[in-house]
Amino acid sequence: MSSRLLVRRLGGSVLVVFLASILVALMVHLVPGDAASAVAGENASPEQIQSTRERLGLDEPIWVQYFSWATDALRGDFGQSLITNRPVIEMVRQVLPATLSITLAASVIAVVIGVTLGGLAGLRRGVTDRVTSLGASLGIAMPSFWVGMLLVTFFALEFDLFPVLDYTPLTEDPVGWLHHITLPALALGLGMSAEVARQTRGGVVDVMAQPYIRTARAKGAPGGRLFARHVVRNAAIPVVTVLGLQIGRLLGGVIIIEQVFAINGLGTMAVRAVADRDFPVIQAYVLLTTVIVVAINLLVDLSYGWINPRVRSEE
């Protein structure tokens, strides 16, 4: 990828984050009616409403509000929770590892299952293809939180193989960590694996129909080598793309998966904050997830050139 393109992509990402930060910083203003009294609650006294107004910075001109919020946010200061009075960044730091563990593990599961099944379906076609196809449609349609509940029902309650609830930090007890995140990660990853399987299958079928595969075969290239050198590289692009597009779905899905498995993660924090209208927490949460999504998609863009050199020259 040329450096000019790199700069353009980077610029685009920064712009999107900047625009998102405006939406996020000023979301309090979108509350119908008087924001401060809505946030302070129905039974708040005028003094409480006034103090809420000041804490939210609503008494300042709008551009001052944005500027001070944004400069604080850049320094990692998202203010304090309106409910617990704790610094928001501290709350985030506490719950982030659980959410990241599950999301990452889910991605790994999705890639392993999706690429294996999709690759087999694309190479073998026939029955394997039809079964995978049906499974993928079903996997996409099944809500991940329902999958989570079914996993709990079968593996935790019926057979007692995994703990039902809660989370153990990796640093404290690696085995316990793995034990605790297996079911949530599986619940979250299965739906995504269906999507990855579809993409892989489509990519492999496309590649196998290319003349260079026939040429390589004619030259007598052994099957394994053919697959590793030609098929994987060329079929990887749509798969990587779908991974980037799915990260947003994962970060949304993990909210509910955390509820199902009673894990105190980012999603649990967000749901509580939404119910309490704890705006500083919600703002930090929305901006953080957006930055993660934008960063992952930038990486996906950059990976194209690395996976497949032809992309570089095409651009």
Partner: protein
């Protein structure tokens, strides 16, 4: 069925609609207008998966419409002496934590399952389609600004965005559906804009413009009918996603409020009693999965029919 739906590896999800989403060789320009090919419907009837999905959705709609006649019991009638019962002759799917008949509740909640996504998609259409038509025909600066705004909203995960909007508007089913409609509007905007741009280059558009056809009339009479194919595909897929989003928000307690029930809130109730009645989570989840599957299959089949037609 569905895997074959995207022969070029095209993503079949609503999440990935956009410039990059309509896949290599499968851009909106590959679609053809629905109106000029009345055989589209006949072809859809030839697709077994589409027929089964369509039939299921029609049955569901009828069941929802006539819920009070079909449901064997009052969905909200509590019977505290018979809570969390397994299936029996009287209650085919058992009873819930307040002794209410699960089957009756599922049938009644079918109304929410269809109406809520319909509301969300309507909001998305109202916001996204006119903006897309406008951006696609005028191009220029407004197009770029709208495009940037769409990019920004698209980079916020849908459920996260929906949570933020519910925080702003307050919880409740209508607000939740408004939120989901807003979240999906950029996707409809992009599909509409892309399709409008390719249609605008057609000769008949130039021709009507040259005979003095006004822009609104041009959009209404020529452009809109000709982009209805990709829009319908998108809407069908979006119905499934909206149902999922509604269930998610209701499961979190931010969507439907008691005493009404949706499949999502039923799952939440059932799951709370997982130690006492572990299999109670099966019926609402199954209803949801089958409905989402039907919407997705129908959308995929429609896309196949339209694109296959183009290839000929």
């Amino acid at each position: 069925m569905s895997l074959e739906a995207s022969p070029s590896g095209g993503p079949a999800v609503v999440d990935v609609v956009g410039d990059e989403a309509t896949t290599p060789g499968g851009g909106p320009d590959e679609f053809v207008p629905l109106r000029t090919h009345r055989s589209v419907f006949r072809r859809l009837l030839g697709n077994r998966a589409a027929v089964v999905s369509g039939a299921f959705l029609i049955l569901l709609a009828l069941a929802a419409l006539f819920a009070p006649l079909i449901a064997p019991h009052d969905p909200n009638k509590q019977d505290l002496l018979n809570v969390l019962q397994g299936p029996s002759g009287d209650a085919l799917l058992g009873t819930d934590n307040k002794g209410r008949d699960v089957l009756s509740r599922i049938i009644h909640a079918g109304r929410v399952a269809l109406m809520a996504p319909l509301l969300a998609v309507s909001v998305g259409v109202v916001l996204g389609v006119p903006a897309g038509l406008f951006a696609g025909t005028t191009r220029g600066r407004i197009d770029r600004i709208l495009g940037r705004l769409a990019d920004t909203i698209l980079s916020i995960p849908p459920l996260v965005m929906a949570l933020a909007i519910v925080a702003i508007l307050g919880p409740g089913l209508t607000n939740a559906m408004l939120a989901i409609g807003i979240v999906y509007s950029p996707r409809l905007f992009r599909v509409t804009r892309g399709a409008t741009m390719s249609v605008s280059e057609e000769l008949y558009v130039d021709a009507s413009r040259s005979v003095g056809c006004s822009t609104p009339r041009l959009l209404w009479a020529h452009v809109l009918p000709n982009i209805s194919g990709p829009l319908l595909v998108q809407i069908s897929l979006m119905m499934g996603f909206s149902l999922l989003a509604e269930a998610s928000l209701s499961f979190l307690g931010l969507g439907i409020q008691i005493p009404d029930a949706s499949w999502g809130s039923m799952l939440r109730d059932a799951y709370q009693d997982k130690f006492k009645a572990p299999y109670a989570v099966v019926p609402p989840g199954l209803a949801m999965t089958l409905t989402i599957l039907s919407f997705n299959t129908l959308g995929d089949a429609l896309r196949d029919v339209i694109t296959a037609r183009r290839r000929e």
